[in-house]
């Protein structure tokens, strides 16, 4: 179980302290799936980054299985079993996909080809590719997810995993996230996708750096449906008829 208690975060932007998160309280239990949703810039990724130890909270504490891990760095938290698939994965000049997966597998076990297949990439085509700008946004995103699958952590946070992924692979992605979830894992998916919101146990709505609502899909969806659909229309008005299931 991972919990954030009274988390506030300020970040320094151009020598000014800017409030990002304000008094966040969240509990993520083992065996459950969660979705974090909310407008762009509301603080979803920042919550994940505080959990992973990338951002140091200004106030509050992070607990993992009852232990206060607030003072631990990224490496220690990773070794305890917290994993994060980044919203914007870093690119690495010269580093083959294979090496990245091997680094992820080092602290777990498994076979490095299957995670690529799971995410719809053919290992023969990708293991030797380098993680640089020669990969498309969708490809790098899928490899990021494969890396998290390889790491196989107890707590797995996916940050907008659907970004850049086409509709067909999206179905596959949902299956992979669902299938890799087990009784002892905690899955947190940052997403706006109705299908993802449908499959989780609890939805957390983040607005303006705070938790504005949490509950089941039926409780939350009516509240965010409008903004999700509205922006959908705007972004793909012309294809509306073709893509009934328009990704936001």
């Amino acid at each position: 179980m991972l919990s954030l208690e009274n988390i506030s975060l300020e970040l320094e932007v151009e020598e000014r302290k800017v409030p990002i998160l304000n008094d966040i309280n969240l509990i993520f239990e083992a065996g459950k799936m969660y979705a974090l949703t909310g407008p762009n810039g509301s603080g979803k990724s920042s919550v994940a980054r505080v959990a992973m130890g990338i951002y140091k909270q200004t106030a509050g504490q992070v607990f993992y299985n009852g232990e206060d891990i607030s003072g631990l760095g990224i490496t220690e938290r990773a070794r305890k079993g917290i994993g994060y698939a980044f919203q914007h994965p870093a690119r690495f000049k010269g580093m083959p996909v294979k090496d990245m997966l091997e680094l992820a597998f080092k602290h777990s076990d498994g076979y490095n080809c299957q995670v690529l297949r799971d995410i719809g990439l053919c290992p023969d085509d990708y293991l030797e590719r380098t993680l640089d700008n020669s990969l498309s946004g969708g490809e790098i995103k899928r490899i990021e997810i494969a890396t998290l699958l390889a790491l196989n952590p107890k707590v797995r946070i996916y940050d907008e995993p659907e970004a850049g992924i086409d509709l067909w692979s999206f179905e596959q992605l949902i299956d992979v996230i669902g299938n890799s979830h087990r009784e002892d894992t905690t899955t947190v998916v940052i997403s706006h996708q109705e299908k993802i919101l449908n499959m989780v146990d609890e939805i957390v709505l983040i607005e303006n750096g705070t938790v504005s609502m949490r509950g089941s899909r039926d409780e939350i969806w009516p509240r965010i449906k409008e903004s999700a659909e509205c922006s959908c229309r705007r972004s793909c008005r012309l294809e509306e008829d073709i893509y009934a299931d328009c990704p936001r």
Partner: protein, 305 residues
């Protein structure tokens, strides 16, 4: 004949385990110690100066190893090698120099390679530098390579120097004739007080001459590096220069790519970048359970691959 140390050095620079396959020449402490020619690949010592001639017959395929090792201190070795790859031949040539300096003096190797890749031939040339030895002893390597890539020929140069060499000044000059292609990969890592300079001048002589120069380096400690890759097109050639350096600690890197066209159909591009390891890269690898140092190492070794 070869000691355990010799074997280690040969492994480092030429990836050799025991006697090389194919034709070879091993030079140790200023003298050729073992040599084998094959039918169509002649290796002969020069008569008038130190060094060898490697002559590959037209159409021949094969591998040639010509490593140099230095195991003494206060030694300065200078060689002139000539390598000629006959028309249509296809050759992998492994050069390289390994220095084990056991003393406080200087161990220096200056190699001049003249390489001719005849029409339609293909050459993959790797040159790896390796140095080790006592604290205080200097290891110096100054290679000069003069390359001619004839019509329709292909040459690929891979020049690697990872740590261990205190001073290096590398000069590479190439002329690429019509339809010839040259690819040059340079990988360099300097540390401590080491210095490295690489001057490259590639001339694209005619139509469809192409060249690609990719230089990747990491500068650590108080080391310093300078790169002067120059690409000159006399005709409608195409070329690309890319210099990319990771800078760390108190190191210094200067990168001065130059492109120079004398024909309106030429297409030349250069890119140069110097920067530290991106924080997001470190964070990603640390989130896989690596320490910051391990993450740094993984990023550097990938970058220099």
């Amino acid at each position: 004949m070869l000691t355990a140390l010799d074997k280690k050095l040969l492994q480092e620079v030429a990836d050799l385990h025991g006697e090389p396959p194919g034709a070879f020449n091993i030079r140790k402490d200023g003298k050729g110690i073992e040599r084998r020619s094959l039918d169509g690949i002649e290796i002969n010592p020069k008569k008038d100066q130190p060094g060898i001639d490697v002559i590959v017959a037209p159409g021949k395929e094969g591998t040639v190893h010509i490593p140099v090792i230095l195991t003494e201190t206060d030694l300065s070795d200078l060689v002139y090698n000539k390598i000629e790859i006959g028309e249509g031949a296809n050759i992998t040539l492994v050069a390289g120099c390994g220095i084990h300096n056991p003393g406080q003096g200087k161990a220096q190797h200056d190699g001049v390679h003249e390489i001719i890749v005849r029409k339609g031939a293909r050459l993959v040339y790797t040159e790896k530098h390796f140095g080790e030895g006592e604290e205080g002893g200097k290891r110096v390597l100054n290679p000069k390579t003069v390359l001619l890539v004839e019509e329709g020929a292909y040459a690929e140069l891979e020049l690697v120097q990872i740590r261990g060499v205190d001073e290096t000044f590398r000069v590479t000059e190439a002329e690429v004739m019509a339809g010839g292609r040259l690819v040059m990969y340079e990988r360099l890592l300097t540390d401590k007080e080491q210095t490295a300079e690489s001057d490259v001048l590639v001339k694209l002589m005619a139509e469809e001459s192409t060249a690609r120069i990719v230089s990747r380096s990491v500068a650590q400690g108080s080391s310093s590096q300078k790169f002067y890759p120059r690409l000159l097109a006399y005709g409608p050639g195409r070329g690309h220069v890319e210099c990319d350096s990771i800078i760390m600690d108190q190191a210094t890197v200067r990168s001065v790519p130059e492109i120079w066209a004398e024909n309106s159909e030429a297409e030349l591009v250069h890119e140069a970048a110097i920067g530290k390891i991106a924080g997001e890269q470190l964070i990603k690898l640390m989130s896989l359970g690596l320490t910051e140092e391990e993450a740094e190492e993984a990023i550097i070794s990938g970058f220099l691959k």
